[in-house]
C-alpha cells in the first residue's frame, strides 16, 4: 500500500475500551494506520475495571491487559490518551476532517515513570471514578494499577474560585489543602511563592476569595483569611526569621522601586527572587506604606508587618527610608536599569466647601498616619466629625474613639446600603460607638475665629445618576449640622504623583498613565503600579500590581518583547454548578467556625488586635470543609516529590486538525444512575450499592481487599441483587433490556459465594436472560451453588435501624401480593445507557441515532457497524448494549467495514 499523503491516518477510532482496542488491533494487523483516541488517561475502558467475566470466570484484567499492551505497542496504532474529539466533518473527497483536542496532563508523559510519588504527595482527594466512587483517588493520579500507558496525570478541572479570584494569584485552595494535610510550613511557603505579605493579608485583606467560595452556597464559605492567619501565626512563631537568604544573583541589573507599600514591596520581592539587585526608596521613616501608616494597628499589628517585610529584605532587597524621590531621571543616572513607581496614595481628596482650610480640619491620611506614629493626635474628650463612608472613614472614626474622642459622627453621602465600607466594619464601628449618618452631603464647615466648630450638611437624595456615574443630587431644604472640634475629611484618596509630572504622563485624577497589562509607561524603563496607577484599591490588588510589574520588568530587562508572553496563566474558573453537582447530596452539614473576637469592652478603646487566631482544630475543621472545586489545589507538593521533574502546570490544551480516511466510534456506554430510581434508596442508604461498585469490590485491584458493606465495614451475610434496575422500565424512559445485567449478577453471585461461603444470596428478577454460549449452563451453576432466585419486581427499599434493608417486592410465584425481605446489602443491577458524546461529533446532525439514542446502524441485519454516514462506523456498545464477546465480534465486523470502505475509496495509505 503506497503512502497516501492526503490522510494522516487511515482510521480514527474514538474510544479505547475493548471495542476500540479490538477494532484497532484488527485494522492494524491488516496494515492500516490507526489513530486511537481515548478521553481517560488509560486505555481499557470499563472492561479492565471488572472483576471476572462471565461465563468463563476468567479474570478481566488477564484478558484486557494483553489487548491493552498489544494496542499500545502495535506499530500501526497511535494511541492518544486524555484526548477528545471536538468535531468531525466529511470532506468532499470522502476523507474526514477531525478536530482533535489533547487535554493537558500537567505531567510530561515522556518524563513520567509511573512511580506514583506525586500521588503520595498530593493533598487533594477526589472520588475515584475507576473504583466507582467507593474510595478516593488523588488529584495527581494513575488511573489504575494496570493503566496503559502507566503515566500519572493531574486532574485540574479549572482554577478553584478562591484561587481564581485572588488578584495577587495567591492560591487559597492550595494552602488550605496543605493546612488540611497538616503541612503548615508547606502551606506558608506556597503562599510565599505567590505573595510576600501573608501576615498583612491574614489581617487586613478583604478576602474576595471568601465571597467566591463554593461552600458559601451551602452552609457558608470557608474562613479563608482566618485559616491563613492560623498558618501565618504558627509559622512566624516557629520562624522569627525567613528560612532563606539572598538568592544567587542571576544578573547585574539593578531596579529601583519608589514606595514601600504592598505594590512596591511585592515588586521588589519578585525581582529579587529573579536575581535583580533591588533598592526600595521610602519617604517615611519606616517601610510599609498604607500598611504601616494607614491601617490602624488594631486591624494590622505592626510587628506582623515587620515580620512580613523580612520576607523581602531577606532576599537582599535594600530599603532606603526617609528618602523622598522626586526624579526618576536621577535614578537612571544613579545606575538603575528600571524603575517601578508605586508611590500609592498619601493624601486625602479635598472638596470645595467653605471652611475647608480652617484649623481643626484634618486630612484622613494625616490623621491615620499620626495614629500610627508615636505622636498620636489629641482628640481626648473632643467631638469628632468624619466626612466619608469608606473604609478609611471608618478607620478614622474608630481610631478617634480609641484616642478618647467624646463623640464621633460619621457622615456620608451614601445611603446605608451604598456605603463603600464593608458591612462588618461598619457594624463593628457602630458597636464601638461611632454614629453613622447616611445620605448627608457636606455643605460648609462652621467657622468660629478661624477654627472649625462644626459642619453643616444637606440631604443627599441620590449619589449616582441613572447611568451609574457619581453625580450626587441634594435636597437643599433638608439640613443637618454637627458640632465638632475636629472634622476629618475622608472622602477619597489622591496619589502623590505631582513631582513626576514632567517625567511620566499623568491622568486627570493624578494617577500615572501606563499600559494596564505590562504596567510600562511611555518611558520604557519606567513602570508604575499600585494605587498610583489604579486609584484607591486594596492591599491584595496592590500586591498583584507589584507582582505584575516584576514579571514585565524582568521581561524588559531580559530584552524580550513585551507581548511575548502573558502574566495571567490561570486556567479558567471551574464551573461552580459542576462542583455542587458532583458534591454528594449527603455531604455532612458543617457550619463555618465563627471568628472569635475579644469582648467589645476590651477592644473598643484599644489599638490592640481584637480578633484572635484560630486554634489548630478550628483550622483543620475549616480546611476540611473545602470542596476542592478545581480538583488539583496547585499546592505543588507533586512538583517537589517528582523525581523525574515531569510536572508542569503550564501545559494547556492543544488543538490539532487531522485528516483521516474513515471514522470508527467505539464510545461505549453509560451506566444507569440508580439515584434516578429513588425508591430503591441508592445514594440514601449506604448499603445499597450498584453492580459496578460490587464488581470493583470483587476485582483483584479492589478498594477494600475484602467484601464489606459500606456503612460499617462488616462482611455482609445476606445479599440481594435487584435486576432490571433502570432497564425494561418505562418510568426511567428505558424500555429495552440491557443484556448484561442478568449475567453479571449471576457472576457476582458466584464470586460472592466464593468470597463469603456462608452468605445468603438472593436474586430478584423478571426473567433470567442467560442467552449466550455457555450462559444458561452458568445460570444452572449459580442455582446449583445455592443462589436463591425470586421472580419478582422490587418496588421499594427501606432502611432499618441497624442499616439493613427491607426489600419490598411483588411475590409473583408465591402467594402473590407484596412481601418484605430483609438483607444487609443490596446490589442494584443497573442497566446500560447510551452515551451522548459521539452523536454530537458531527455538527450537521448527519449522524443518526436509533429510537433509543444509540448510534443507529442503518442496516443492522447485513451491515453491522454501518452508520448513517458513509465512512463512519460504530463498534460495540455505542450501537446498543452488548456483552463483551458480542462487542468483540461487532468490533471486528466493523473493522471489516472500515477496511472495505478504505479499499473502495482508495483513501488508505
Amino acid at each position: 500500500m503506497g503512502r497516501n499523503s492526503n490522510v494522516d491516518y487511515d482510521a480514527l477510532i474514538v474510544g479505547a475500551g475493548i471495542a476500540g482496542m479490538e477494532s484497532a488491533l484488527t485494522l492494524g494487523d491488516m496494515g492500516f494506520r490507526v489513530l486511537l483516541v481515548e478521553k481517560e488517561s488509560s486505555i481499557g475502558g470499563k472492561m479492565i475495571l471488572l472483576s471476572k467475566v462471565f461465563p468463563t470466570l476468567d479474570c478481566s484484567s488477564c484478558i484486557s491487559t494483553p489487548k491493552m499492551a498489544a494496542t499500545a505497542n502495535h506499530p500501526n496504532i497511535k494511541v492518544l490518551t486524555f484526548s477528545e474529539i471536538d468535531a468531525v466533518s466529511k470532506n468532499l473527497d470522502g476523507t474526514f476532517l477531525v478536530n482533535l483536542r489533547k487535554n493537558p496532563k500537567f505531567i510530561d508523559p515522556v518524563k513520567c515513570t509511573g512511580c506514583a510519588q506525586c500521588e503520595t504527595a498530593c493533598t487533594v482527594a477526589i472520588a475515584d471514578e475507576f473504583n466507582s466512587d467507593l474510595i478516593a483517588r488523588r488529584a495527581a493520579y494513575i488511573a489504575f494499577p494496570q493503566a496503559v500507558p502507566k503515566k500519572a496525570v493531574i486532574d485540574r478541572k479549572g482554577t478553584s474560585p478562591c484561587s481564581f479570584t485572588c488578584p495577587a494569584g495567591v492560591k487559597p485552595h492550595g494552602y488550605i489543602a496543605l493546612v488540611r494535610a497538616g503541612k503548615y510550613d508547606e502551606a506558608f511557603r506556597l503562599h510565599l511563592e505567590d505573595a510576600p505579605l501573608p501576615g498583612c493579608l491574614s489581617r487586613a485583606c478583604y478576602a474576595p476569595c471568601e465571597d467566591e467560595c463554593t461552600r458559601g452556597q451551602l452552609e457558608g464559605p470557608l474562613p479563608i483569611r482566618a485559616i491563613k492567619r492560623f498558618m501565618v501565626d504558627r509559622y512566624y512563631i516557629e520562624h522569627p526569621e525567613p528560612e532563606y537568604g539572598i538568592p544567587e544573583k542571576l544578573n547585574v541589573k539593578r531596579v529601583a522601586v519608589v514606595g514601600s507599600g504592598p505594590a512596591g514591596l511585592s515588586a521588589a520581592y519578585f525581582l529579587a527572587r529573579s536575581g535583580y539587585s533591588v533598592t526600595v526608596f521610602e519617604s517615611e521613616s519606616e517601610p510599609g506604606g498604607i500598611m504601616r501608616w494607614g491601617i490602624p494597628s488594631y486591624r494590622l499589628p505592626k510587628d506582623i508587618l515587620a515580620r512580613d517585610i523580612k520576607n523581602i529584605t531577606a532576599l537582599g532587597v535594600k530599603i532606603v527610608t526617609g528618602t523622598r524621590v522626586s526624579s526618576t531621571q536621577k535614578m537612571k543616572e544613579d545606575g538603575f536599569d528600571a524603575v517601578f513607581m508605586a508611590v500609592g496614595n498619601t493624601g486625602g481628596r479635598r472638596i470645595s466647601i467653605p471652611g475647608e482650610d480652617l484649623e481643626g480640619i484634618v486630612d484622613c491620611m494625616d490623621f491615620l498616619k499620626s495614629c500610627n506614629s508615636d505622636d498620636r493626635p489629641d482628640v481626648n474628650g473632643k467631638k469628632v466629625v468624619v466626612i466619608g463612608g469608606g473604609n478609611v472613614a471608618i478607620d478614622c472614626g474608630r481610631s478617634a474613639l480609641r484616642l478618647g474622642a467624646n463623640e464621633v459622627q460619621l457622615v456620608c453621602l451614601e445611603s446605608n446600603d451604598e456605603m463603600p465600607a464593608h458591612k462588618w466594619e461598619i457594624q463593628q464601628a457602630v458597636d464601638e460607638g461611632v454614629a453613622i449618618n447616611c445620605s448627608w452631603g457636606p455643605k460648609a464647615v462652621s467657622d468660629v475665629g478661624g477654627k472649625a466648630t462644626g459642619a453643616e450638611f444637606v440631604c443627599c437624595t441620590s449619589v449616582f445618576d441613572t447611568s451609574g456615574k457619581f453625580n450626587p443630587s441634594f435636597d437643599e431644604s433638608k439640613r443637618k449640622s454637627f458640632d465638632a472640634d475636629i472634622v476629618i475629611m475622608a472622602v477619597g484618596l489622591l496619589p502623590n504623583t505631582s513631582p513626576f509630572s514632567s517625567e511620566v504622563e499623568l491622568n486627570r485624577n493624578g494617577t500615572i498613565n501606563a499600559d494596564k497589562e505590562t504596567l510600562q509607561t511611555a518611558e520604557p524603563w519606567i513602570f508604575a503600579g499600585g494605587d498610583a496607577l489604579t486609584g484607591p484599591s486594596m492591599i491584595v490588588k496592590a500586591i498583584s500590581q507589584g507582582k505584575r510589574a516584576a514579571y514585565y520588568i524582568d521581561h524588559y530587562l531580559q530584552g524580550m518583547p513585551m507581548n511575548s508572553c502573558h502574566f495571567d496563566e490561570r486556567l479558567p474558573m471551574v464551573d461552580r454548578e459542576a462542583v455542587l453537582s458532583r458534591t454528594p447530596g449527603d455531604i455532612s452539614d458543617r457550619k463555618p467556625v465563627s471568628l472569635k473576637l475579644k469582648p467589645i469592652n476590651e477592644w473598643a478603646r484599644s489599638f490592640g488586635e481584637y480578633e484572635s487566631t484560630m486554634t489548630e482544630n478550628e483550622a483543620l475543621y475549616s480546611a476540611n470543609r473545602c470542596l476542592d472545586c478545581g480538583g488539583c489545589s496547585q499546592c505543588r507538593q507533586c512538583v517537589a516529590a517528582c523525581p523525574a521533574d515531569a510536572i508542569s502546570f503550564d501545559m494547556r490544551t492543544e488543538l490539532e486538525d487531522l485528516t483521516v480516511g474513515s471514522v470508527m466510534l467505539s464510545t461505549g456506554f453509560d451506566i444507569f444512575n440508580a439515584a434516578n430510581k429513588p425508591a430503591l434508596g441508592c445514594g440514601r442508604f449506604p448499603n445499597v450499592i450498584n453492580a459496578m461498585q460490587m464488581d470493583r469490590i470483587l476485582a483483584p485491584t479492589r478498594p477494600y481487599n475484602a467484601v464489606i458493606r459500606p456503612s460499617d465495614g462488616k462482611a455482609p451475610s445476606n445479599i440481594a441483587f435487584v435486576l432490571c434496575t433502570g432497564s425494561r422500565d418505562q418510568k426511567v424512559n428505558n424500555r429495552i433490556c440491557s443484556r448484561v445485567c442478568c449475567m453479571y449478577s449471576l457472576k457476582q453471585a458466584q464470586l460472592l459465594m466464593g468470597a463469603l461461603p456462608l452468605a445468603d444470596i438472593t436474586i430478584y428478577y423478571i426473567d433470567i436472560r442467560a442467552f449466550g454460549k455457555g450462559y444458561d449452563e452458568f445460570y444452572e451453576q449459580a442455582k446449583g451453588m445455592g443462589v436463591y432466585f425470586v421472580k419478582g419486581k422490587v418496588a421499594r427499599i427501606e432502611e432499618t435501624t441497624d442499616q439493613n434493608l427491607g426489600v419490598f417486592y411483588e411475590d409473583i410465584e408465591g402467594n402473590g401480593g407484596t412481601r418484605r425481605a430483609e438483607h444487609d446489602l443490596v446490589v442494584l443491577s443497573v442497566g446500560v445507557l447510551p452515551t451522548q458524546g459521539a452523536l454530537c461529533l458531527f455538527k450537521d446532525g448527519s449522524l443518526k441515532a436509533d429510537p433509543f439514542s444509540y448510534i443507529d446502524e442503518v442496516d443492522e441485519d447485513l451491515e453491522p457497524g454501518k452508520t448513517s454516514i458513509d465512512g463512519v462506523f460504530v463498534a460495540g456498545t455505542a450501537a446498543g448494549a452488548r456483552d463483551i464477546p458480542d462487542s468483540i465480534l461487532h468490533s471486528d465486523a466493523a473493522a471489516a467495514q472500515v477496511a472495505a470502505y478504505l479499499k473502495k475509496t482508495g483513501k488508505a495509505s
Partner: protein, 577 residues
C-alpha cells in the same frame, strides 16, 4: 544443574494482583531462586504484564545485558506473546524467554496450601531457569501467504463473509453442500427485528456474490482433503460428486450453520395434527396472506411452547443444556406477525424465561400490547399437549398465577424449537474442527479469540459456533473475515520456530518418525549420498512425537532440546530445601 557458563538471566515473578500472591509466597520464590548462579536479577511485580512493568523489564534487560529471561506468571496462553514482544523490544531474542505458569498450575490449583503451592512454584521456576539457561536464539519462519480464502457454507453467514472478504481484496472460493446457496433462512418470511424477508435477504446476497469477479461459488460441493498450513492451505473440493478441484487458500472460514431442533415423537404432542415447530410456523406465516389457515382450517388460537430442545436440565439422555438464544424473540416476533395478519387470533405463550434481550424487548412489548397472553412453566412441570375431538388441548401450571392449572384449547401448538449443531462428520474429520461441550464448533476463547480455532488459519462463523440471530451471525461472519484479512493482507506470516530438527550425522533413516508424525512433516531425502529424514518446518507443529521414537536420538525440538528437557527434569527433582 547443567547450564551454559556465564549466562545472565533475569527472573520476574508476578503477583497477578493477588491471583498468584494470595496463594503463592512470591517473595519466597524470589529469595530461593536468587541464589542460582546464572540468575543476575530477580524481581517481583504486582502486574508483570502491565505496560509500566514491561518498560522496567526492557530497561533492565538492556542495562544488565541479560541473555535470557524467565517470567513466572500466568498461562503462556495468555501472555507468551506479550512477553516475547517485550523481549524483542528489549533487543533480546524472544525464544530466550520462558514463561512459567505459577497461576493456573500453582495458586489456582493449590488454594488449600500456600506452602505446597509455593514449593511447586519454586520448582517450576527453577525448571524455567534451567531451560532458559540452555536456550539458543531462534528465528521465526516466514511463510508467504495466498490472498485467497475458502468459505464453507453459503448461508447468510457464509455469503456475507464472502462479500466482506471480497470487499477487502481477498479472493474467495465458496462451497455449499446443498444444490442451492441460501441456507436456513432462505425459506423464512419476515425476520426480526426489521421485518425483512429471509428469502429477500438471501437473494440480495446471492446476487451480489454472483456479481463479484473474485468470488467463486460452488454448490453441491464438499471439501474432501486439506493439507498445507496457515497462509497456504491446499484443499480438494468435490463438486457434484464428480469433479475434484484443487485450490490454494490462505485461510478457511467454516460457516456451516445449524439444524433446527426436531422434537421427538410425542414431545409436547409433536406429530399430533396441529403441533408444529417454529420454523414450520415461520414458513406457514410466510405463505399466508389474507386468511390464516392451517391445512385448510381457520386458525383462531395459537399456543406457543418455549424452550423445546433447549435448556434441558431435567432431561436424562443427550440433553441440550444450552439456551438457543434466538427462539424467544423468534416466537414473539412470529406472534406479532400473526397479530398483524389477523388481529383476532388468540395467542398463548408458555415460556420459562422471556429472553427477548436488548432492543428485542420491544417485540415482546408489542406482542403484549397486541394481546398475547404469557404463562410461565417450570421445566419439571412441562405443559401437556393432548388432542381431543380434533382440537388440541394444552394443560399448564402457570407460575405467574400461583401455579394455577390452566387449560387452553387451541388450533395450533407451535413448539418453539432451538438450534442444534449440524451433523457433519466428514467436514469435522477433514478440517479437524474442535467441538465444544454443546456440540457446536468451538472458538479458542470467547473474548480473546472468538472466531479463531486451535488450528491456525481456520475460523468459525455464524450459528456453526453456537445459536445466533441473523444480525449476530452476520457480525460474527464479518469478524471472521476481518481476521482472515488481518492474516493475509500483509502477504506473509511468521511462524513459530519451535519445530523438530534432524541431526543428519546421526540419522540412518528408519522411517519411524515419518510414521508417527500426524502433520506429514517428515520427508525422506538424500543428503551427501545418505538417506535421512528431513522435517518441513512449516508443517511441523513442534509436538515432538518423533523425538522419542527415533532409535538414534537424532531428533530434537528447537527450544525443547534433550539437554534442556533433562535440565528441567533435574531442576524439578531437586529438593526445595
Amino acid at each position: 544443574m547443567m547450564e551454559m557458563p556465564g549466562r545472565k538471566l533475569g527472573v520476574y515473578i508476578c503477583h497477578c494482583g493477588g491471583n498468584i500472591s494470595d496463594y503463592v509466597n512470591v517473595e519466597r520464590v524470589a529469595d530461593v531462586v536468587e541464589g542460582d548462579p546464572s540468575v543476575v536479577t530477580v524481581k517481583t511485580n504486582i502486574f508483570t504484564c502491565s505496560d509500566a512493568t514491561q518498560q522496567d523489564m526492557i530497561a533492565e534487560i538492556q542495562e544488565k545485558k541479560l541473555d535470557g529471561i524467565v517470567i513466572a506468571s500466568c498461562s503462556p496462553k495468555l501472555h507468551l506473546n506479550t512477553f516475547r514482544a517485550m523481549a524483542e523490544r528489549a533487543g533480546l531474542n524472544p525464544y530466550q524467554y520462558t514463561q512459567v505458569n505459577i497461576r493456573e498450575q500453582c495458586s489456582w490449583a493449590h488454594t488449600h496450601s500456600k506452602d505446597a503451592a509455593t514449593d511447586k512454584a519454586i520448582k517450576l521456576v527453577r525448571a524455567g531457569i534451567a531451560r532458559t539457561g540452555l536456550s539458543m536464539p531462534l528465528k521465526r519462519l516466514r511463510v508467504e501467504t495466498t490472498p485467497a480464502a475458502l468459505v464453507i457454507g453459503a448461508g447468510v453467514a457464509g455469503l456475507r463473509a464472502a462479500l466482506a472478504l471480497s470487499d477487502m481484496g481477498i479472493s474467495v472460493h465458496m462451497i455449499e453442500r446443498a444444490g442451492q446457496p441460501g441456507g436456513m433462512i432462505s425459506k423464512w418470511g419476515k425476520m426480526f427485528p426489521n421485518g425483512k424477508k429471509g428469502s429477500e435477504i438471501i437473494d440480495s446476497l446471492i446476487k451480489k456474490v454472483r456479481e463479484r469477479e473474485n468470488i467463486n461459488l460452488f454448490t453441491d460441493a464438499n471439501i474432501i482433503e486439506k493439507s498445507g498450513n496457515v497462509g497456504k492451505f491446499s484443499v480438494k473440493i468435490s463438486v457434484n460428486s464428480k469433479e475434484t478441484i484443487s485450490l490454494t487458500v490462505g485461510g478457511i472460514i467454516v460457516a456451516t450453520g445449524f439444524e433446527p431442533y426436531i422434537p421427538k415423537d410425542g414431545e409436547f404432542g409433536f406429530r399430533l395434527d396441529g403441533v408444529i415447530t417454529l420454523p414450520e410456523y415461520e414458513e406457514l406465516l410466510a405463505q399466508s396472506s389474507g386468511s390464516f389457515k392451517y391445512k385448510g382450517r381457520d386458525i383462531k388460537t395459537v399456543a406457543y411452547i418455549y424452550c423445546v430442545g433447549s435448556r434441558e436440565h431435567c432431561k436424562e439422555d443427550n440433553p441440550h443444556l444450552y439456551c438457543s438464544r434466538y427462539c424467544c424473540t423468534g416466537a414473539v416476533h412470529a406472534a406479532v406477525c400473526t397479530g398483524d395478519l389477523n388481529p383476532g387470533v388468540h395467542q398463548f405463550h408458555l415460556f420459562r424465561d422471556m429472553r427477548t434481550y436488548g432492543k428485542y424487548e420491544m417485540l415482546y412489548d408489542q406482542a403484549l400490547k397486541q394481546g398475547s397472553i404469557f404463562l410461565r412453566y417450570e421445566e419439571n412441570e412441562p405443559p401437556q399437549v393432548t388432542s381431543e375431538d380434533g382440537r388440541l388441548k394444552v394443560k399448564v401450571k402457570d407460575r405467574l398465577t400461583g401455579g394455577e392449572e390452566i387449560e387452553i384449547k387451541t388450533d395450533l401448538v407451535v413448539l418453539v424449537t432451538g438450534m442444534v449443531p449440524r451433523a457433519n462428520a466428514p467436514l469435522v474429520n477433514v478440517l479437524k474442527l474442535p467441538i465444544g461441550k454443546d456440540g457446536f464448533f468451538n472458538e479458542i476463547h470467547p473474548k480473546l479469540k472468538p472466531v479463531e480455532t486451535v488450528i491456525d488459519g481456520l475460523f468459525i462463523a455464524g450459528a456453526a459456533q453456537g445459536p445466533k440471530t441473523l444480525s449476530e451471525s452476520v457480525a460474527s461472519s464479518m469478524a471472521a473475515s476481518a481476521k482472515v484479512a488481518a492474516l493475509l493482507l500483509k502477504g506473509y506470516i511468521d511462524l513459530e520456530p519451535l519445530v523438530a530438527k534432524v541431526d543428519p550425522d546421526l540419522c540412518t533413516w528408519c522411517g519411524a518418525c515419518e510414521q508417527t508424525c500426524p502433520y506429514g512433516a517428515v520427508q525422506r531425502i538424500t543428503c551427501d549420498g545418505k538417506e535421512i529424514a528431513m522435517i518441513n518446518p512449516v508443517l511441523c507443529k513442534g509436538e515432538g512425537g518423533c523425538v522419542p521414537v527415533c532409535p538414534q536420538q537424532a531428533i530434537g525440538v528447537e527450544g525443547y532440546t534433550n539437554s534442556q528437557v533433562e535440565a528441567m527434569i533435574d531442576a524439578l527433582a531437586m529438593e526445595v530445601a
